[in-house]
Amino acid sequence: MGEVIVITSGKGGVGKTTTAANVGAGLAYLGKKVVLVDTDIGLRNLDMALGLENRIVFDIVDVTSGNCRLRQALIKDKRLDGLHLLPAAQTKDKTAVSPEQMKALCDDLRQEFEYIIIDCPAGIEQGFRNAIAGADKAIVITTPEVSAVRDADRIIGLLEASELREPALIVNRIRPKMVRQGDMMSIEDIIDILAVDLLGVIPEDEMIVITTNRGEPVVLDQSSRLGQSYRNIVKRILGEDVPMMSLDEEGFFGKIRKMFGMR
């Protein structure tokens, strides 16, 4: 039976889709059978992050409304054998799917895949309700900005109220230099408020724009630090105990090590 993980944030543009693409690709690269589900109906873009846009025939609304069979809507990734995508509909809106339909869909996907990664839309309305309806676990993304952290906190509260307890946190777009200068919230500041477990930290890196535009998940790039930060997250999802990596800025992660009792 597969595990359903929803990737959510509250605030838009903090890196949910990028993270979903990379986590999914990273898991598939390690041999897992993975399906990425884009629930951002009306603002479809997970397909682009994977370079699969031109293969879409059916979408999630076609499946839930019975226009096609699940099999027909699933798109196989062009690079990774285990990776599949269930695309969002672009021409409908979030009310085209109900939480009950989402739950049933997740249960179907669970039979066939080891990991079902759900890319959630921004906001706290029906799109969010749909995305979390069938989830077993949640990953919350934030950036080191006060407003993003506030929205993440709101989302964590809503997740807890929906029995999705102990979500894991990813802090995206951190700039170590700015943190050191005191111009950006540190990981410690963020954890102090959100009080959840840290799953990983992803640095700000313009390389992500290039790789996303090309539809090549950067997690597959073995040479980059950025790819490494996603690979570490993937390993932690698989249960490995991977220490937080230093972002080349000495002492930057000293505080985290202390907090998590890693030396």
């Binding site: 506030r150 929205d151 906190d153 709101r154 964590i156 509260g157 408020i193 009080a195």
Partner: protein
């Protein structure tokens, strides 16, 4: 449901059996979790939080508010007009703090790092914040 008793000069619970009964009488709710952004509590009586009150969360109580953690949201103690109501927190860093009809906020551009539990109450007509002292010490003062 009664609003906090007027007769109680020191609104904090004292450690005698009689006064503990007073507190029960005053209606106290125990919140055993962190209040996150967007979550609110409105209560006729005292509110005790075993956790944090995050920015974007709000508590309004006719009685006292005690936070056994970091208070970073908006709180209103004595919401029914009780000028004796207090707010007590391990880390008192509210976005806004109200007691009765007094509304206060922390000074701009001033990062407060509170190392000790602190208590806010109305003293001589203004909301003042002081280090929380144990009841015997505090009561010894005039």
């Amino acid at each position: 449901m009664a609003i906090s008793k007027e007769s109680n000069n020191s609104p904090l619970p004292k450690h005698t059996a009689v006064d503990q009964e007073d507190l029960v009488d005053d209606n106290t709710i125990l919140v055993q979790r962190t209040l996150r952004s967007g979550q609110t509590i409105s209560y006729h009586g005292n509110v005790v939080v075993l956790g944090d009150v995050n920015p974007g969360a709000e508590i309004a109580a006719t009685g006292n508010i005690i936070v056994m953690g970091a208070l970073r949201g908006v709180v209103h103690a004595g919401a029914g007009g009780d000028e004796n109501a207090i707010v007590l927190a391990f880390k008192l860093q509210p976005t806004q703090l109200r007691i009765s009809d007094h509304i206060t906020r922390p000074p701009d551009n001033e990062a407060i790092d509170t190392a000790h539990p602190e208590m806010a109450r109305i003293k001589d007509g203004v909301v003042t914040i002081e280090a929380f002292q144990t009841p015997p010490e505090r009561q010894a003062k005039p």
